[in-house]
């Protein structure tokens, strides 16, 4: 029952996000557009490039979809509305989303295309750098909650949300989340202008449909993770808990998409340099500061 509710919420959020994105791009509110677009993908021919690594080519979109949903499985919408309240929840979401990298390497290598391959290897560098900026802020969040259980992490923010308690961690986490979701300005693996779609380039029809759905769900999962780790999860006045979770998740997702709309794509060398030289020292500083706060202000 819980599984069905969470999955439907995930799909519903993806639909709402797609409608809003379409609205902001075209200026028209078309609630049926995502479904029609999905159906159109099903109807189109799904080409297979010449001499592909067929196994990787077919596996990549499905793997991306599966790991995204697995990641969402440990994030609570309400105190009792979580698929698996694991004792290692905050670690598990990293484990699941680490396979986004594997899926993109497969999608890059599989189709036997130069642009796709460059996109795949680019994402390798990007995610190895930014995975640290996901894990280290979560470490500071777990330090405050004294637990890796996601529901306990939300519980620890009842009096004060983590966005106030550790704002530096929030900023680093949301930047890293955008890099992990490879949305603009971090969309180097797909880079429309220079790589002609990159890892997306060789996918058509149903396979592209699965890939697009997975990317949309990835944004929702990361927005939900931001809500759970920094925005107090289901806490909020008047409205029922799950409504608060949903509002916050959609707001963060909209913020991620909005940032992508107004910021230019970052050069790859700069992206790496900023992460290794600036981001990681700041993330270490964040852990140190939060540690002091915990010791000094009980």
């Amino acid at each position: 029952m819980t599984v069905a509710v969470v999955l439907l919420t995930l799909l519903g959020s993806a639909w709402l996000l797609a409608v809003i994105e379409d609205w902001s791009a075209t200026g028209r509110l078309r609630p049926a557009a995502p479904m029609l677009s999905g159906l159109a993908h099903l109807g189109r021919e799904s080409l297979v490039p010449r001499k592909p690594d067929r196994l990787f080519f077919e596996t990549a979109p499905v793997l991306l979809l599966v790991v995204t949903i697995l990641g969402a499985g440990v994030l609570p919408l309400a105190p009792d509305l979580v698929i698996a309240d694991l004792a290692t929840g905050a670690l598990f979401i990293n484990a699941a989303l680490a396979y986004v990298l594997v899926a993109l390497i497969m999608a890059g290598w599989g189709p036997n295309g130069a642009y796709a391959m460059i996109g795949g290897w680019r994402f390798l560098g990007q995610l190895i750098a930014y995975a640290m900026l996901i894990v280290m802020p979560i470490t500071a969040v777990a330090m405050r909650a004294e637990s890796l259980v996601t529901t306990a992490i939300v519980g620890s923010q009842e009096s004060l949300w983590n966005i106030v308690y550790q704002p530096l961690g929030f900023v680093l986490f949301i930047i890293a989340a955008m890099a992990l979701a490879f949305r603009a300005p971090f969309d180097l693996p797909t880079a429309e202008g220079e790589l002609a779609g990159g890892v997306d380039a060789e996918y058509t029809g149903m396979r592209l449909g699965v890939l697009r759905l997975a990317r949309l769900l990835l944004v929702i999962t990361l927005a939900s993770a931001t809500t759970v780790f920094y925005l107090g999860g289901w806490h909020g006045p008047l409205l029922p808990p799950w409504v608060w979770s949903l509002i916050k998740t959609l707001a963060v997702a909209a913020l991620i998409l909005l940032a992508g709309r107004h910021l230019p794509r970052i050069r790859e060398a700069d992206l790496m340099g900023w992460c290794w030289k600036l981001g990681i020292p700041l993330a270490l500083l964040n852990i140190f500061v939060v540690g002091l706060q915990i010791l000094v202000v009980p």
Binding site: K51, D53, L55, F56, L86, A87, T88, L91, F92, N94, A95, A98, Y99, L101, V102, I105, M106, W109, W121, L124, L127, I128, A131, S147, L148, V149
Partner: protein, 178 residues
């Protein structure tokens, strides 16, 4: 109990299967990712054996580590796609012998070693995480710190070696750098 044994065996067989696949393919990317999924299956064995933290950690670490190995294998092999019919195997009889004796030794250790009394009931996952943390920050801290500093030194050294010497010298003057 039987379900647990079944899953441990199933993931174990999957780990061996992917391990065999590593050497059965000529594509470097397939080889590296087969090794990744072999390690993921080992992580799933940990999960089946009720050691949640170790399992999740193994599954997480291997995804990134083996992905890094993929690009190194592609960079350093002359035929990374495996389309040129490259044969990587050599010294076959020696390796078969070495492989079989190593497997025999591992099985012998597993069967003959005194593993002590079997725990009747595993502590719950949260307690395991806590006890693991206390162990690592207590008795085992020196071992882990030594390993960590060694790895860090190796990483810095490898990066330093990888930077071309002339970029370190002023104005790229090669004579100065040499």
């Amino acid at each position: 109990m039987y379900a647990q044994a079944f899953f441990v065996a199933a993931f174990g067989l999957a780990a061996i299967g992917f391990g065999v696949a590593v050497f059965r393919t000529s594509s470097m990317v397939r080889s590296a990712l087969a090794l990744l999924f072999s390690q993921t299956a080992v992580g799933c064995m940990f999960l089946a054996m009720q050691t949640e933290f170790l399992g999740v950690l193994q599954i997480m670490m291997m995804a990134t580590e083996m992905s890094i190995m993929t690009i190194f294998m592609v960079m350093f092999m002359m035929d990374p796609g495996g389309l040129g019919g490259m044969d990587m195997s050599h010294q076959k009889r020696f390796s078969i012998g070495a492989g079989l004796s190593a497997a025999g030794a591992a099985i012998a250790v597993a069967l003959l070693a005194d593993w002590g009394p079997i725990t009747a009931e595993a502590p719950d996952a949260a307690m395991q995480t806590r006890e693991l943390g206390i162990e690592m920050l207590g008795r085992s801290m020196l071992i882990f710190e030594t390993a960590a500093v060694t790895i860090l030194t190796a990483m810095i050294a490898a990066t330093a070696v990888a930077i071309p010497a002339h970029t370190l010298a002023d104005n790229g003057n090669k004579e100065v750098s040499e």
